[in-house]
């Protein structure tokens, strides 16, 4: 019997690691499937290939999976997310000029303090008619929502006090260098590349804005999930195996070797290695700093598609697309995430399976044991920088209370 093939679209980013490693290190073969990675340079291309069947699944920014399901800017195509490819792993990088003006130090600073200094500058620039401009990787990206959450939280109004434009990750360092933008919020290794090129200074890791924010997901057409259910479950197991290996002691060197290759990230191996070992160099020539919360590819059931995380993304879509809350859209957004498939795929394995499919987001100040139907699960602190918590069952109140 020939193996079922999954063509999986991806962008050259560190968090495309799991499908690539599942393919390269035999986790796919072990589950009787084959993965064929398809590299692209824009999310628009990744999305188009996915919805028109040139690919079977994709490494995708989570909000884009929801926007595609809801038919934002295009006819709706319901997507399904049975697996999360990682939490966080992004950073906000300032141009050298902005970093100096704000007074960034060589340590990871406090988001509220940096925000206060940034606000003074943003106000001055807005008053002079040349507002600060930030680049994010996509309109429907967690980068956009994290950056806006932070800015709004420190009193800087996105779209009014500062401009937010789209800058694709591989071009983000160029945009900083050329002065097209004053700051970027992108995934790795592109912040580190900006720092290594001497054109930027990392101001914050997005994990400092929301400590356990959902990042890339594995997305596929909902119809494909129904038609190839068994193979999709095998794919989930293959990715889970790759995730477990990814964080195993001693695995990082080999992972970095593979990911840095021209057919994958085509990026400096050292920058890739730093990101996947949670070591970030904040300033050009500086010593990399170990920040254990930087990115999560496996621990704390990071791959579990919590419906409440989809709900938070939907709340930010309402907020920043200036829409009104819609009960039906909220339900469709939540249902894009498919914890049922995750559970079915991993039942009987050693993977911890949460008992619930939704939780209060941002409610944990310290690690806590969580209810599970299989294995033992501890969830780490997941606070937002401003201490607000998100109740997925009351999005309207949450939105009303946000600045």
């Amino acid at each position: 019997m020939t193996a079922e093939i999954f063509r999986i679209g991806f962008l050259p980013l560190v968090d495309a690691a799991l499908p690539i490693l599942a393919h390269e290190l035999g986790f796919a073969a072990r589950e009787g499937i084959a993965i064929e990675p398809v590299r692209d340079m824009t999310w628009a291309t990744v999305r188009d290939r996915l919805i028109f069947g040139q690919t079977d699944a994709a490494h995708m920014i989570a909000p884009l999976a929801i926007a595609t399901t809801l038919g934002r800017d295009r006819p709706a195509v319901p997507l399904a997310v049975p697996f999360v490819l990682g939490l966080n792993g992004n950073a906000v990088t300032f141009s050298t000029r902005l970093a100096n003006a704000v007074g960034l130090t060589e340590e990871l600073g406090d988001p509220a303090q940096i925000g206060a200094a940034l606000k003074r500058l943003a106000d001055a620039r807005a008053a002079s008619g040349k507002p600060l401009r930030f680049g994010v990787v996509h309109r429907y990206s967690s980068h956009n929502y994290m950056l806006r959450y932070w800015l709004a939280g420190v009193g800087i109004r996105p779209d009014q006090d500062v401009e937010i434009v789209v800058t694709s990750p591989p071009f983000a360092a160029d945009a900083l260098a050329a002065g097209d933008v004053d700051g970027i919020c992108v995934g790795e290794p592109w912040n580190s590349i900006a720092v290594d090129r001497g054109v930027g200074h990392i101001a914050l890791a997005t994990a400092q804005i929301w400590r356990r924010g959902v990042e890339k997901v594995l997305a596929m057409r909902a119809t494909l999930l129904d038609e190839r259910r068994e193979a999709v479950e095998a794919l989930v197991r293959a990715l889970h195996g790759a995730a477990e290996h990814f964080v195993a002691p001693g695995a990082a060197e080999e992972s970095a070797d593979i990911l840095a290759r021209p057919e994958y990230l085509d990026a400096p191996r050292d920058a890739v290695l730093r990101a996947i070992t949670d070591r970030i160099r904040l300033v050009p020539g500086g010593e990399p700093l170990h920040y254990p919360d930087f990115m999560f590819q496996y621990r704390e059931a990071a791959n579990f598609p919590w419906r409440s995380q989809a709900a938070w993304l939907y709340s930010q879509m309402v907020r920043w697309d200036y829409m009104t809350f819609d009960e039906g859209d909220a339900a469709a957004a939540n249902n894009t995430f498919r914890p049922d498939i995750y559970r079915a795929a991993l039942a009987g394995s050693s993977a911890p399976l949460p008992g619930a499919s939704s939780k209060l987001e941002g409610g944990l100040a310290e690690p806590i044991g969580a209810g599970s139907t299989q294995g033992r699960l501890t969830l780490g602190a997941d606070r937002f920088f401003d201490g607000r918590a998100f109740d997925p069952d009351d999005i309207e109140t949450y939105l009303a209370e946000l600045p």
């Binding site: 999310w43 188009d48 028109f52 295009r74 434009v165 800058t167 591989p170």
Partner: protein, 193 residues
Amino acid sequence: MRIAIIDTSTTRAAIISDGLRDAGLVDLAIIDPSGPLMAQVEAAQPEVVLINLENPSRDQLEDFFAVSRALARPIAMFVDQSDAEATGAAIDAGVSAYVVDGLSKQRIKPVVDLAVRRFQAFSRLQRELDDAKTALAERGAIDRAKAILMKRRQIDEPAAYALLRGQAMRTNRRIGEIAEAIVTSEALMGDME
């Protein structure tokens, strides 16, 4: 109807615009890939935008369209959704289309269909060019391999060619591949007697 063409390949952009002009669609704006993209699109005020699928500026372009919708500016475009089948064919051919709201399906379809045919023609040309290059390179290798055989085995050219051909048939490979192997091994071991 004004159509803007954005393509990282200027050759392909020329092939598409020729095709559109032949079909009587002469109001074209060819966007210079080395210039500022949004400014050019804004100035052109197109009703249809054709862009190669893998263009690295697509995320920016879609954001630009979305923002201009929010601000109710004139360049508010949507991904072409007039015909799912045609859109699928366009994606397969490597082109994506954006259209202003309200443009009728009858007017969009011929443009997209034509772009698809031109993209396919361009791919075919490229393939033929690649094949021709390969053939040329192989012919060089075959000539060199024949010379090596003639010298080593003290045989004439037809005999050398017959050797290559016989080996290719026995091993089910192309003559070019056999020739390449001989040239490579001569380069590595030619001085060993």
